[in-house]
């Protein structure tokens, strides 16, 4: 799929108009991560454009558990951040690399299963778990998951853009069936129970407060990693490859290597999030890596908007809120219908997700001088 097609697909008319009117001048190869260096401190790269709103959001995130109930901290806060991290890996690959990979949840699932298999977990009637110390299990799982992500990337990158969705979906569903049917390693339908976060330095990571901060730390790490990469030569090259691979090839960049490396980076993020997610759930089974979750991650990424890394987390928060409280508003049984309709509306009218819709609204109320 060509660069122009991609931008058409991902930019709504309002979004483009907003960028133009805002005079951002940042429509160069779509490096939306850059903003003009104006007010704010200049700590090199990342902190060049810190704004008051960033400080407010960070303060809110840090202080959140102190005024929210444990339920909200754990089920809403930690879950959204972990899912958001997986969706961030998808946004990184899809929004900035032009490769929408549906296998991110699979990579997260591989890491989760790794923690269950290598660490201490209960497979009820089968003695599969090896019971190694938790940090060994976690490190090995992340390594294996990243390797798998690289392999999946290698499989997908030699084909055309739209093939990527097909291939990664096929890989994802194949992994689901593997987990479902295999008993010697994956314990089939039962999966693993009692996969619990460890107690580190006397702090029990299963409690809502410490667990929330753990997830918050890694989400912030992922977010800043993406923001840094996007401004680094690697990220710029990646976006160039997204827009025009042939030209980049002619310029001497190894297109395939860059793409596979992007898959690897996204794989690390998804793997870390997968470990956090399995600790959150306390269990893992084929249902955790099945089609509905594979598609849910895509929905989260698109819902928030793939034009900026924060979109993944916004989408995750909205999704988790919908999922938890839909039953109070309408039948829980019709939750899928609601999600499907919301997704359809977003794709039809605001392909840039909530972020695009928000810029659309802001463009109707231009700020003073029209410069953002």
């Amino acid at each position: 799929m060509s660069a122009a097609n991609w931008r058409n697909a991902m930019n709504s008319g309002a979004g483009r108009a907003a960028m133009r009117s805002a005079g951002g001048g940042t429509l160069v190869a779509g490096n939306r991560g850059l903003t003009p260096i104006s007010a704010g401190w200049n700590f090199g790269g990342i902190f060049a454009s810190v704004r008051p709103r960033h400080i407010v959001v960070l303060a809110f995130l840090l202080a959140y558990p102190w005024f929210a109930t444990p339920f909200f901290t754990f089920q809403i806060g930690a879950q959204s951040l972990a899912l958001g991290l997986i969706a961030l890996s998808l946004t990184f690959l899809g929004g900035y690399g032009g490769m929408v990979s549906l296998a991110q949840m699979t990579v997260a699932g591989i890491a989760g299963y790794g923690v269950a298999i290598f660490g201490a977990a209960s497979a009820v009637d089968a003695a599969i778990s090896l019971g190694w110390p938790w940090w060994v299990a976690v490190l090995i799982s992340i390594a294996i998951a990243t390797l798998c992500a690289t392999f999946i990337g290698w499989l997908s990158v030699r084909t055309e853009g739209i093939y990527t969705i097909m291939i990664t979906l096929a890989v994802g569903v194949a992994f689901y069936y593997l987990c479902l049917q295999n008993y010697s390693v994956f314990n089939g339908f039962q999966g693993f129970q009692r996969v619990q976060a460890p107690t580190v330095l006397g702090v029990n990571l299963r409690d809502p407060l410490p667990f929330y901060y753990l997830v918050l730390f890694w989400s912030l790490a992922g977010y800043f990693l993406v923001k840094y990469l996007l401004r680094a030569p690697f990220g710029i090259a990646l976006q160039g490859i997204r827009d025009n691979p042939r030209r980049m090839n002619a310029l001497g960049f190894n297109v395939t290597a860059h793409r596979v490396a992007a898959y690897a980076v996204a794989g690390v993020m998804a793997a870390v999030a997968g470990v956090l997610l399995v600790w959150y759930n306390g269990l893992i089974g084929p249902g955790s890596v099945g089609t509905s979750w594979i598609i849910n991650i895509l929905i989260i990424a698109v819902l928030g908007g793939m034009r900026h890394p924060i979109g993944a987390f916004i989408g995750a928060i909205v999704f988790v809120l919908l999922q938890t409280f839909a039953i109070d508003v309408f039948d829980r049984e019709r939750f899928n219908l609601v999600i499907g309709v919301v997704f359809l509306v977003i794709v039809l009218f605001s392909p840039d997700g909530l972020l695009g819709w928000w810029s659309g609204i802001k463009s109707k109320f231009p700020t003073r001088g029209g410069v953002r």
Binding site: T69, P70, F71, F72, F74, Q75, S122, V124, D125, A126, L180, Q181, Y183, G188, F189, Q190, G191, Q193, R194, N281, G282, L283, I284, G285, G287, S288, Q323, T324, I327, R332, E333, N336
Partner: protein, 415 residues
């Protein structure tokens, strides 16, 4: 004078406030959370389970222990993580006092693990029937008033041998509940001399049984089929179309009402199947007949109910009834972290439509099983006739504790 008046007023107000609080405690409704699978493979069973639970509340006019019952429903799709999320929301966000559910085996194990983090809330099972829930790492506040999968098959091994089935092949779904069912069948069947040359475990939701059917040995006398829902229907169809004619021995959900009611002609091949289950549609005890009549009145077929309540309806009814009867015993007092309530549940003898139920040390029910046979009535509907009723079955299935081994894919084995 004014001061005294004011002091008295304040004192009265304070006393009234405390009394008011105490009174409010007494009159405050009890919130009960109800979880069943309303999506996915067991959706039909889940809907009937909810009907059974609601029937129990309706029979007591929505009150128990002098307090009003408020029911908050949630649904899952047979996935353990969804079940735990839904339970967590009911317990921590909606602040239910008592939790009833879930439906399927894997969910039951996951919810039991969660219950350990909330010792002041009482968790009562819905219909999950895996042995491991109460046998392995049991939870102090998770109560199961229904017998589990293995207990439901006690007596079936002997009945199969009595019919002359000396060699059988087992075809069952590959997860915890069928393991328990097969263990319950085989521990008796093998001990009495039966042989099981082949065990075929099929993935849950797998539709293509051609490979399994191709593997059926010629010299088996019957097939022990422990499949539920759509899987059972598919298997029956494909087996008959492939020219199979061996008699069947059924697991408890293979001849449940939702299968006997499926819309297709092939169900006639089920007539004559023996099975073990906690429910038998034709059981003629008066308590059971009252239960069936109540169900049929509240949920006529036109409104979506089955002609006769299914296994899920009965089991959810029993568990909800336990919750309500327990409230009656403690007169609605759920203070002190529900310790009195949980002790009452542990001690009580529950009167159910199919007999009395008591709990063992792991809070697992000791109850009744029916050996049934499928017959067709005058209207052409299929139902389960009672061949035998076995009471007082505990989770060890009557075997000494040292000999008992939980059901897995490989255990028990007698080729």
């Amino acid at each position: 004078m004014r001061r005294t008046f004011v002091k008295t007023l304040v004192a009265t107000a304070v006393v009234a406030a405390f009394a008011g609080v105490a009174y409010a405690q007494q009159g405050q409704p009890v919130k009960i959370g109800l979880l069943a699978t309303l999506e996915g493979p067991f959706a039909a069973g889940g809907a009937d389970g909810m009907r059974g639970a609601e029937l129990a509340i309706k029979q007591k006019n929505g009150m128990a222990g002098g307090r009003k019952i408020v029911l908050i429903k949630a649904s899952s799709d047979a996935k353990p993580d969804v079940a735990v999320n839904a339970t967590r929301k009911l317990v921590e966000q909606d602040k239910v006092d008592i939790m009833v559910g879930p439906l399927s085996g894997g969910e039951g194990i996951a919810v039991k693990e969660y219950s350990k983090t909330q010792p002041n809330i009482t968790f009562i099972n819905g219909s999950s029937g895996a042995q491991a829930t109460t046998l392995v790492n049991p939870s102090q506040n998770f109560f199961r008033f229904n017998t589990e999968g293995a207990q439901w098959m006690v007596g079936l091994g002997k009945a199969a041998l009595d019919r002359g089935y000396k060699r059988v092949m087992v075809i069952a779904e590959d997860y915890a509940f069928p393991y328990s069912q097969v263990q319950g069948f085989m521990s008796e069947y093998c001990r009495l001399g039966g042989k099981v040359p082949v065990k075929a475990w099929v993935p849950l939701g797998g539709k293509d049984y051609s490979s399994v059917i191709a593997r059926i040995p010629k010299d088996v006398d019957a097939l022990v089929v422990v499949l539920g829902g759509a899987d059972a229907v598919n298997f029956l169809n494909q087996y008959e179309a492939a020219g199979g004619d061996k008699p069947l021995v059924g697991g408890s959900i293979t001849v449940s009402q939702d299968i006997l009611n499926y819309k297709g002609k092939r169900r006639d091949s089920l007539v004559g199947t023996i099975a073990g289950a906690p429910i038998a549609d034709a059981y003629d005890a008066p308590e059971f007949k009252t239960f069936v009549a109540d169900y049929q009145k509240s949920y006529p077929v036109s409104a979506g109910g089955y002609p006769s309540p299914s296994l899920f309806a009965l089991v959810y009814y029993i568990n909800m009834k336990a919750a309500l009867d327990g409230l009656d015993l403690v007169k609605g007092d759920l203070s002190d972290g529900q310790k009195k309530y949980q002790a009452a549940l542990q001690r009580m003898t529950l009167k159910t439509p199919v007999g009395d139920v008591k709990l063992d040390a792991n809070r697992q029910a000791i109850g009744t099983t029916f050996i049934t046979e499928v017959v067709k009535d005058k209207q052409g509907n299929l139902f389960n006739k009672v061949l035998r009723k076995v009471d007082g079955i505990d989770q060890m299935l009557g075997q000494p504790k040292e000999q008992f081994k939980m059901g897995t894919r490989d255990e028990p084995s007698c080729p």
